[in-house]
């Protein structure tokens, strides 16, 4: 449906729901992967969000939910978007039950703001995706994660309750505000990573963790992908409990680092750091970082391996495949005239690859070659950043196996009109 066909909805209809200030005609900067919507609306309450969704449903408007917009380029370009529903005003921290290590927040709360609030009680939400201004709703919808996932898991391990607005305006919740709860289906997990294709997430409840009192960083210089793999394996199968094990390979020459962050209490982290030195010295050159170099090192090591206009890939493989993944990335990129840079949450099997240089043909061929090998086994290669042109050549998600039919049935039940983010998700969902 083009803009002219949506004449039966005007910006006034939206303003009637959310107030004069909070609905407007869309601008070019509101485009979703090159597709410009007609309107942007910012509901301030769950009731307003429900009314907006109901209107969109009645009028057949295609909806893209948006938080801070940090991952608005994820997935495939949408087939159509009429309305962007922004959660920017759903930004209240509703409850922080410090004694229960639980927080209930609206979807538009930015993670950095939440962390600031929680730090007062020496607590945190143990999620650390790279986009600092991301909202919690966006993090759930994208299933965004960071290096801490090694110890604390991802959204699915920390989200204990959710409230969503379905495409027809129905407000529904699942889970609760206790960590242990098996009553009813776990819709929180169903919505995690669903990229706005099942409904609008409006409220989330989280399990929190205490902030550690002390930390130590051990960095191991390694000379080859094989040495990086051996280092990671030696740490994984030890009794250490690291918060992060990160691999960093700046160029396509053999070298790089494996870095270990250990958190806990003072005497504990030092003992663990000493063990880490002992364990890894057979595979590379380890040392414990001191003073200021800790911050400098992590600032650099945790930087995204892709630039604003580069291509970003998330390679999900088995952790023991790390050396193969590292070799494969530099080989495939080299063959296709593209430069690669690699970081990764090594002990979890997640590798982040930035591609630069070359043309879209070369980038697409690199993705395809990685998929042919990683995807043919147990893994997947997802394009998390790339131009719409690249994503026309290569699907952002890649194959999802024989569960696709069932996924389509799920989509069909939740969004029978196909109004939510059409075309952005797997298999054209």
């Amino acid at each position: 449906m083009s803009v002219s066909e949506v004449v039966q909805v005007s910006v006034e209809d939206l303003k009637n729901i959310v107030g004069e200030e909070h609905a407007r005609e869309a601008k070019e900067s509101d485009a979703v992967d090159g597709v410009t919507p007609s309107f942007v609306v910012e509901p301030g309450t769950v009731e307003e969000a429900s009314a907006v969704m109901k209107l969109a449903h009645e009028k057949g408007l295609r909806v893209t939910p948006r938080g801070s917009g940090t991952k608005i380029g994820w997935g495939n370009p949408p087939s159509e978007v009429d309305l962007v529903v922004s959660t920017a005003r759903l930004n209240k921290i509703l409850e922080h039950a410090a004694g229960d290590l639980v927080a209930r927040v609206e979807a538009g709360v930015k993670l950095e703001d939440l962390q600031k609030e929680l730090s007062g009680a020496n607590q945190m939400l143990a999620l650390d995706p790279p986009e600092a201004s991301a909202t919690v709703g966006g993090i759930v919808a994208a299933n965004a994660s960071g290096p801490r996932r090694l110890r604390y898991g991802t959204v699915r391990d920390l989200l204990i309750g959710i409230t969503v607005v379905l495409p027809n305006g129905t407000v529904a919740k699942a889970g609760g505000k206790v960590v242990k709860n098996v009553a009813g289906y776990d819709l929180g997990k169903l919505f995690t990573g669903s990229l706005g294709t099942l409904g609008l997430i409006v409220e989330t409840t989280w399990r929190l963790h205490p902030v550690a009192a002390a930390s130590r960083t051990v960095v191991v210089e390694v000379e080859s992908p094989a040495a990086a793999g051996a280092t990671v394996q030696s740490l994984m199968h030890s009794t250490l409990v690291p918060t992060m094990i990160e691999v960093n390979r700046p160029g396509s020459d053999g070298g790089g680092t494996v870095a270990v962050l250990i958190e806990g209490i003072g005497p504990g982290v030092m003992a663990q750091a000493v063990s880490a030195l002992e364990i890894t010295r057979h595979h590379g050159t380890p040392r414990v970082l001191e003073g200021r170099e800790v911050e400098t090192f992590w600032d650099d090591a945790l930087k995204s391996p892709w630039d604003g206009d580069g291509v970003g890939l998330k390679v999900n493989a088995l952790p023991a495949e790390l050396p193969n993944v590292l070799e494969l990335v530099s080989d495939a990129a080299g063959r296709n005239g593209v430069t690669s840079r690699v970081t990764g949450h090594a002990a979890t099997g997640v590798t982040l690859v930035g591609l630069s240089g070359g043309d879209e043909e070369g980038q697409a061929a690199t993705v395809q070659e990685l998929r042919d090998i990683v995807g043919s086994g147990e893994g997947s290669v997802v394009v998390v950043q790339g131009s719409p042109e690249l994503k026309r050549k290569v699907d952002a998600w890649g194959p999802v196996g024989d569960a696709l039919t069932l996924m389509r049935r799920v989509k069909g039940r939740f969004d029978p009109g196909g109004l939510m983010n059409p075309g952005r998700f797997v298999g054209g969902i």
Binding site: D100, V241, G412
Partner: protein, 485 residues
């Protein structure tokens, strides 16, 4: 030949005569699970040996519109594996193979009938274990753990079954077989593994399960502390967690539960109104420091005696009484209901006071056993079924405790599941819209409501067709017993 005889023949042709139980007396073995006050004899029982057997059996049920219920070891405590009287009970106990052990990637692939503890035994020599440890872990199956999202004493720190399953092979209620999730992290698409785990057998039958295994900790330290009241013990747990320590386990038993455990397995617990078991695990230097802290906190909360496990044998003795507590209550009462409510941990003193009041009002004793770290209460309501009206009063009291948990912001079930037993309490926790939304997921997996029907949700519902076309009126709808959704 009757319909039932034809069904028996078809099932025998799939899994051989030994794989089908149809004799009425033999069927009695399967008429209930761990919740023995509900009993239903199924039409017949099948015992598949392979995923293909399961798939073909489900296909037959689908073609004939016959309901089916999956059962593992039958240890569930909410009637989740209660048979359907017109249905087939599919028992997965013969599918007991551990298919793959992949230590470098910390994964184990098993068939659904594999016993929980077997997984740990299999990987223990490599320094690993499977974290979810329900008290029934000696006999319960992984397939059942998946259905119920089982927890255990150690899930406060290590999570539930859902946090330890990465992939599933599932036979859908229409007989299709699909692979959900993957061995590697973050597979693209909807997290249908997350949706399936804990769905209590209503979305299909898992025939292959990929588990995450966890490295054994360097050190485990366990203490047992006696307190003058459960309030004091609860206060100690709150203070431990407030100090930034997440214990591997924190379990409280009250005097009645202690009395029962003593009578049954003689763990030699101190004579007290409450005992607290705290277990810490992790790197030695860290655990040592935190353990001293825990001892200090217990003392500050009026602990009258603290015992520290010197070795594995003593640790096992501490746990023996706790793990046997449910069954042990049989020593001090002819009958009892086990409940499974959850509250925010900080509401513990309030909830204990109110349970005491309710217990006095109903004139029935309540023994309390709880996973104090995560607020999961297991009140055991004691009664004598031979006394006229007492069972009803006990059931009423158990229900009131659940409602109290919901009012305090908690849940009607922390790990036992809703099943048959608690489905009528679901509306206390969820609105009509919430339940209808859950039903959308059910309809995507099982539009004809054949897989463990009439469980979990209070009102049976049928799924409308998504696509336009003539709609057949289901007999149940015609009879006014269900509404179309």
């Amino acid at each position: 030949m009757s319909d039932r005889e034809r069904l028996i023949e078809r099932m025998k042709s799939i899994m051989g005569p030994k794989g089908v139980v149809s004799d009425h007396e033999q069927l009695r073995t399967y008429e209930c699970d761990g919740l023995m006050n509900f009993r239903v004899r199924p039409t017949l029982v099948v015992l598949p040996e392979t995923a293909e057997h399961v798939q073909r059996a489900v296909q037959v049920c689908h073609d004939e519109g016959i309901p089916f219920v999956a059962r593992g070891s039958g240890t569930g405590l909410s009637g989740g594996a209660l048979p359907h009287e017109q249905g087939v009970l599919i028992v997965l106990a013969r599918m007991r193979e551990i298919l793959e052990v992949d230590i470098p990637n910390q994964r184990v692939v098993v068939e659904p009938g594999v016993i929980n503890l077997k997984v740990t035994q299999e990987v223990a020599p490599e320094g690993y274990y499977f974290a979810p440890d329900p008290s029934s872990q000696l006999v319960c199956s992984i397939g059942g753990n998946v259905a119920e999202n089982s927890g255990g004493a150690h899930c406060l720190k290590y999570g539930f079954t859902t946090n330890h399953v990465t992939a599933l092979e599932v036979v859908l209620p229409n007989g299709e077989m699909v692979n959900l999730g993957s061995k590697s992290p973050d597979p693209p698409g909807y997290d249908l593994v997350g949706a399936f785990v804990g769905s209590e057998g209503t979305l299909g039958i898992a025939t292959k399960i990929t588990l995450r295994i966890v490295r054994q900790p360097e050190t485990v330290q366990t203490l047992l502390a006696a307190f003058p009241s459960p309030d004091d013990a609860g206060g100690a747990v709150s203070d431990i967690i407030a100090a930034g320590t997440v214990p591997a386990a924190a379990e409280i038993m009250d005097s009645l539960a202690i009395e029962a455990a003593e009578a049954a397995v003689h763990p030699g617990y101190p004579d007290a109104d409450a005992i607290l078991i705290v277990e810490l695990d992790g790197p030695a230097a860290e655990v040592e420091h935190q353990f001293d802290e825990v001892v200090r906190i217990c003392e500050e909360n009026n602990s009258t005696e603290i015992r520290i496990a010197e070795d594995d044998a003593q640790r096992a003795l501490f746990w023996k009484g706790r793990k046997a507590a449910f069954a042990a209550v049989g020593r001090i009462s002819p009958d009892y209901f086990v409940q499974d409510g959850v509250i925010p941990r900080t509401a513990l003193p309030e909830v204990l006071r109110k349970i005491k009041q309710m217990s006095d009002q109903h004139g029935l004793r309540v023994a309390n056993v709880f996973h104090a770290g995560d607020g999961n209460l297991h009140p055991l309501v004691l009664y004598n079924g031979n006394v006229e009206g007492e069972a009803e009063r006990a059931e009423e009291l158990a229900g009131e405790i659940l409602v109290l948990c919901v009012e305090l912001g908690g849940s009607i079930t922390g790990e036992h599941g809703v099943g048959e037993e608690k489905k009528h309490y679901m509306p206390k926790m969820f609105s009509e819209d919430d339940l209808n939304t859950m039903q959308l997921l059910r309809c995507a997996f099982d539009p004809h409501a054949l897989s463990n029907p009439e469980k979990v949700f209070p009102t049976p519902r049928l799924c409308g067709e998504v696509r336009p076309g003539p709609r057949r009126i289901h007999p149940v709808e015609k009879a006014g017993l269900a509404q179309v959704f």
